[in-house]
């Protein structure tokens, strides 16, 4: 099933390469079909998922490069399950949102689907090399999508994005190889299987380096302050559909990597660095929110608000307890839904008004009552109104931080920083919503109309999910919990100093 979910978009990419560039009808049906099918299968997966089982489910293993014991190995647990479904969902929306593109339609679609496949793969790969391949597969399509179809300083933005991310991922590659060499030394068996490697008890000094190699890649991807400076450029230059996947799905890969790899593999290093990294996350929460207040460009405003919200997610992870990490995973889903809906709204407004500058907007609610209502709902969710989904995540995260043992010394300060950012969020989100939709405006173009049926149906799922998750988050949390508990209580059965003879642990 997982293979189907990941490879259907890739197959569609191959098909698209043989389709006539002018044949938009076929291109549309192939890409919508592929993204839709992927989403449907992922939903079926969701239904069949066993919520009581903390370990990996739907696993698939095939030998890939037998000499190095590299396997094609996939599986999902309660953490990756939601990110997988989220990615399939956001990608489907992104594909639908790009249907009226003109220039290079076929190539755009092909690259978009390739990006989807890469992101999906990251969340299900259980073999480190496979993970790395998907990780890089996310990068390449993004480079071209922003470089070719972007706007503004797109070459600068995309180069910066790729180089920045590449620095991280190459370090990670070194880390991956080093890690498996350590295992090889101890057991004389080469493996890249993450489920085996996590049981290794690595010497704290080595952990420190390995952690830094892995963490840099993830921290850049999230991004954690102050490694965020690629994000505003990339987001502002990026076409909206690409942006949806960037913010909705790909930004979660970093935090996911920390939960999946850093915490179970390098617990000592995490404890050593946790306090500092959490400070970066908390600083980013305030920093992003503060800059968002000063932004007038709608895209940049949402981009900086994303930095703030992603900071919450990173902070929750380093609380290193159930509430914090479960809140973070939930918040990844929430942020994916909310931020992508916000960017869709920005895209709609820009398409209709020809500008993204907030100063040029005013009083649009009068002629766009439907968008008004949906925009308001998403705004309220984004500023963390209790009763909607954003609040549940932020509450759990901050509660986790407050009660965290790792952050105990500074948890009060971190929570206060989070609280400040929540106040700021209400300021910049209301600036944005009220500035665009309220007050009196006599100069609204007469041609301006409310959103059409298609745009409505793109926003509707987000609006519904925002309410449902806000009212009843239990079904999601219940599936996350067991897996998070198992990540936090991983057993280090393979002791490298004394256990050289114990090799072959399976």
């Amino acid at each position: 099933m997982l293979t189907l979910i990941v490879f259907i978009p890739l197959v569609a990419v191959l098909i698209l390469l043989f389709v006539n560039k002018e044949d938009t009808g076929t291109i549309k049906s192939v890409s919508v079909g592929a993204a839709g099918l992927s989403l449907l299968i992922s939903l079926a997966l969701l239904v069949r998922f066993d919520s009581m089982e903390p370990g990996m489910q739907f696993t698939e293993t095939f030998a890939w490069v037998p000499i190095f014991n590299i396997n094609y190995q996939m599986g999902v647990d309660g953490i990756s399950l939601w990110l997988l479904v989220l990615t399939a969902f956001i990608s489907f929306i992104a594909v639908c949102f790009s249907l009226d593109r003109k220039e290079g339609f076929r190539n755009f679609m092909a690259l978009l689907l390739a990006l989807e496949a890469g992101t999906l793969g990251v969340f299900v790969a259980l073999d480190l090399i496979l993970f790395y391949v998907f990780w890089e597969l996310m990068l390449v399509p993004t480079y071209f999508l922003i470089g070719i179809w972007g706007e503004g300083r797109r070459i600068y933005a995309t180069t910066k994005f790729v180089l920045y991310t590449l620095v991280g991922s190459l370090l990670m590659l070194v880390g991956i190889i080093w890690l498996s060499l350590i295992h090889f030394e101890a057991t004389h068996e080469l493996t890249f299987d993450i489920q085996t490697l996590v049981h290794m008890n690595i010497d704290p000094g080595t952990q420190l380096w390995l952690f830094l190699f892995f963490f840099t890649a993830f921290a850049i991807k999230v991004p954690i302050f102050p490694l965020h400076s690629w994000l505003p450029h990339a987001y502002v230059s990026s076409p909206i559909p690409v942006l949806l996947i960037l913010t909705g799905a790909m930004s979660k890969a970093g935090a996911y990597g920390i939960i999946r790899f850093c915490i179970p593999l390098f617990p000592d290093a995490v404890e050593q660095f946790g306090l500092v990294i959490a400070f970066g996350a908390a600083a980013g929460i305030v920093y992003g929110a503060w800059i968002a207040i000063a932004q007038r460009d709608l895209k940049a405003l949402v981009a900086y608000s994303s930095i703030s919200h992603l900071g919450f997610i990173a902070l929750g992870v380093f609380a290193l307890n159930g509430e914090g990490i479960e809140g973070s995973v939930l918040q990844m889903v929430n942020h994916g839904i909310i931020a992508s809906a916000l960017f869709i709204i920005v895209g709609i407004l820009e398409k209709k008004m020809g500008t993204r500058n907030l100063n040029d907007f005013r009083g649009l609610g009068k002629v766009m009552p439907v968008l008004y209502g949906m925009f308001m709902l998403i705004t309220l969710a984004a500023l963390g109104l209790p009763g909607l989904n954003g609040f549940v995540g932020e509450f759990l995260i901050l509660m986790g931080v407050w009660t965290s043992q790792l952050l105990a010394d500074l948890s009060t300060i971190y929570v206060l920083m989070g609280g400040l950012a929540i106040v700021f969020a209400s300021i910049y989100m209301l600036y944005m919503f009220q500035g665009a939709m309220q007050e009196k405006n006599d100069q609204i173009p007469e041609t301006l109309t409310d959103i059409n049926r298609g745009e409505f149906s793109l926003l509707l799922p987000a609006c519904i999910l925002v309410i449902i998750i806000g009212l009843y988050p239990k079904p999601i949390i219940d599936r996350i919990s067991p897996s998070v508990e198992s990540v936090l209580t991983i057993e280090k059965t393979l002791n490298l100093h004394t256990g050289e003879d114990k090799g072959g642990h399976h």
Partner: protein, 619 residues
């Protein structure tokens, strides 16, 4: 046991959903009927619960749980409501006064093109307030707390084309978010120490977990107070309330006088077990209440907007409630909350009737002589004013005098508290009768031909006027009903001297207004000249808005702009770019030996990986 009480929540939220979804497809009559009907259902159900509690003296209420809402880590929470005397008492006011104001709104908003949206928001408010009151734990308290803030935001900014309304709505929202954050942090501390957020468990465990005045309990109560003060517009988080008068008048009556702004007082009463353990905080509660009482009262003395005067009056009366609560007299605070709900709603609705009759005029300098054109409104406004001023035997008399007299006789009371409270009472009598004389007495100062409001607006006025006159006699019943939760009876100290002074203070204020506003303009002008500096200070609301602007708003904005322009672009971004540029320079030198770019990149990459790997292997 009380499962049917969920209807209190379900009815208004149904109204909200139907009205906001189908609002523009159904007629005004039906929208109004639906809006009022759903609140009527809530009120009826509340009455049923009340009768169950009253008729069976053994029945102290209970918790009704629907299902487990979330479990994450060690945090677990059920979706449940708590039915007990305090919540039912509060709900009676919310749904009862709410229902009356809904009916009034049918007349008041008749001409508004967005009639059904208004009722949708009003229903949302009733729902949110019921969540706040019925919550059985701190989490859903916060949910309700924020949702009433949302409803308040939506209704303040209801006329969304009016810039001042839009700004006022945002201000109210942001200040209330500050309060919400305070409450959330209080919940964290409670959870950290007691491992639960459920009221009953927290209150049961608090006594043994905390020593009086220990740091933790002080922090909990202080953070709770941030929420309470923000919601109830107490100094220094009060500046949003006068601006909130931008909303339609029924909103001011319902949300910004009778119900939502009293949530802070309700919170203190609800958590009295915690506050009893924190006498230091209690002094703060009483002190802030007292300061707000005279601070707001003094500003009310000189305002010309009829609604703003009543708004400052609301702040001031809320101050009295906090004073009572801070002195440990929770039942008196709740009693005053109830009488205040009646007479303040009455005053607002009467003011609304005036505004309605004068085609949206709110400046009292342009009113005058309305007693002839609007005889019923005149009487109801007078009754409301008398009750507010504490005129003997009106509702306000019983509750306010109880607070004033006990501010001396309570365990923590003293003559200082009492004196300020009396001063506030004198101000109250003065400012409300100043408005009364300006509005209803004398000659008309405008050409607008005033007309009395329709029956659908008059009937609610008469009903509220009745309660403003009689509710004071129900003090004993209120006390008896609430004592099972609050634990202590209302004290009834006997002190004829202080009582007489207290009552005369209000009358003296009235007399002062008569002296200045009834008997000639000269004296008024003279007084204004003599007190010019004070007058300016009061008229400009102590310049608090300006001070906040300079101390908080401007620095926040400037810092944001600074971070955006300097920190981000010239700081972080520049540094990162420099790293890239330097590397490019170096690699350009290296690549001189290479033939093509692609190869050089590949070469560099491989060299890099190999070097690091060698380091790893041979270390």
């Amino acid at each position: 046991m009380f499962t049917y009480c969920w209807l209190i929540l379900i009815a208004p939220v149904t109204g909200f959903i139907v009205l906001s979804w189908y609002g523009n497809q159904i007629s005004r009559e039906r929208a109004g009927l639906l809006g009022c009907g759903t609140v009527g259902v809530s009120f009826a159900v509340t009455l049923a619960a009340l009768s169950e509690l009253v008729l069976d003296s053994e029945n102290k209420g209970g918790v009704s749980t629907l299902y487990n809402w979330v479990t994450a880590g060690s945090f677990s929470l059920d979706l449940s409501i708590l039915i007990d005397p305090l919540s039912i008492f509060m709900l009676l006011i919310v749904t009862g006064v709410g229902f009356v104001i809904h009916v009034y709104s049918v007349g008041y908003m008749k001409e508004d093109p967005e009639f059904s949206r208004f009722f949708a928001y009003l229903n949302l408010f009733i729902f949110a307030m019921s969540v706040l009151v019925l919550a059985a734990d701190f989490f859903f308290l916060i949910v309700g707390w924020a949702l009433v803030g949302l409803a308040s935001y939506l209704l303040i900014g209801f006329w969304r084309e009016k810039t001042s309304a839009v700004l006022a709505a945002r201000k109210a929202f942001v200040m209330n978010v500050i309060g919400d954050v305070g409450m959330v942090i209080a919940a964290f501390i409670i959870f950290e120490h007691l491992g639960t957020l459920s009221y009953l468990d927290v209150f049961a465990a608090a006594g043994s977990a905390f020593r009086p005045n220990d740091d933790t309990i002080l922090l909990i109560t202080l953070f709770l107070l941030v929420g309470a003060f923000a919601k109830s517009a107490q100094v220094p988080l009060h500046t949003w309330l006068p601006d909130a008068m931008e909303g339609p008048t029924p909103v001011s009556a319902l949300i910004h006088a009778a119900t939502m702004v009293t949530a802070g007082v309700y919170l203190v009463a609800r958590c009295h077990v915690l506050f009893d353990l924190a006498p230091y905080t209690m002094y703060l509660v009483a002190g802030v209440g007292l300061i707000t009482a005279i601070f707001a009262g003094s500003m009310a003395l000189v305002q010309y907007d009829i609604k703003r005067v009543i708004a400052y009056s609301t702040m001031s009366q809320l101050g009295y409630m906090f004073l009572a609560a801070g002195l440990g007299m929770y039942s008196i605070a709740m009693f005053h909350l109830m009488t205040h709900a009646f007479f303040k709603a009455l005053l607002f609705l009467s003011a609304g009737s005036v505004i309605h009759g004068l085609n949206d005029e709110q400046d009292i300098r342009k009113m005058g002589g309305l007693r002839h054109a609007m005889p019923i409104t005149h009487v109801t406004f007078l009754i409301g004013s008398l009750a507010l001023a504490g005129f003997p035997l009106t509702a306000g008399f019983f509750s306010k005098e109880a607070i004033i007299i006990n501010s001396y006789h309570a365990e923590m009371g003293n003559i200082f508290f009492w004196a300020i409270a009396v001063l506030g009472a004198a101000m109250t009598g003065f400012y409300i009768f100043r408005v009364y004389f300006y509005t209803f007495i004398g000659q008309a100062r405008t050409d607008v031909h005033a007309h009395e409001s329709p029956f659908i607006m008059i009937a609610p006025l008469l009903l509220l006027a009745f309660f403003s006159l009689t509710a004071g006699f129900g003090g004993g019943m209120v006390d008896e009903f609430l004592v099972t939760y609050l634990g202590t009876h209302m004290p009834h100290p006997h002190d004829p001297l202080l009582e007489t002074i207290g009552v005369s203070a209000g009358l003296l204020g009235i007399a002062g207004a008569v002296g200045l506003y009834m008997t000639g303009k000269d004296r008024l002008d003279f007084a204004k000249q003599m007190l010019a500096p004070v007058y300016d200070l009061l008229f400009n609301k102590y310049y608090i808005d300006e001070i906040y602007d300079i101390l908080i708003v401007q620095p926040v904005r400037a810092t944001g702009a600074f971070l955006k322009e300097r920190g981000e672009r010239l700081g972080i971004d520049f540094t990162v770019d420099q790293v890239g540029i330097q590397i490019r320079e170096v690699s350009r030198l290296i690549s001189l030996w290479q033939s093509g770019n692609v190869r050089s990149y590949a070469f560099n990459m491989i060299v890099g990986v190999v070097v690091v790997l060698m380091f790893v292997v041979f270390q």
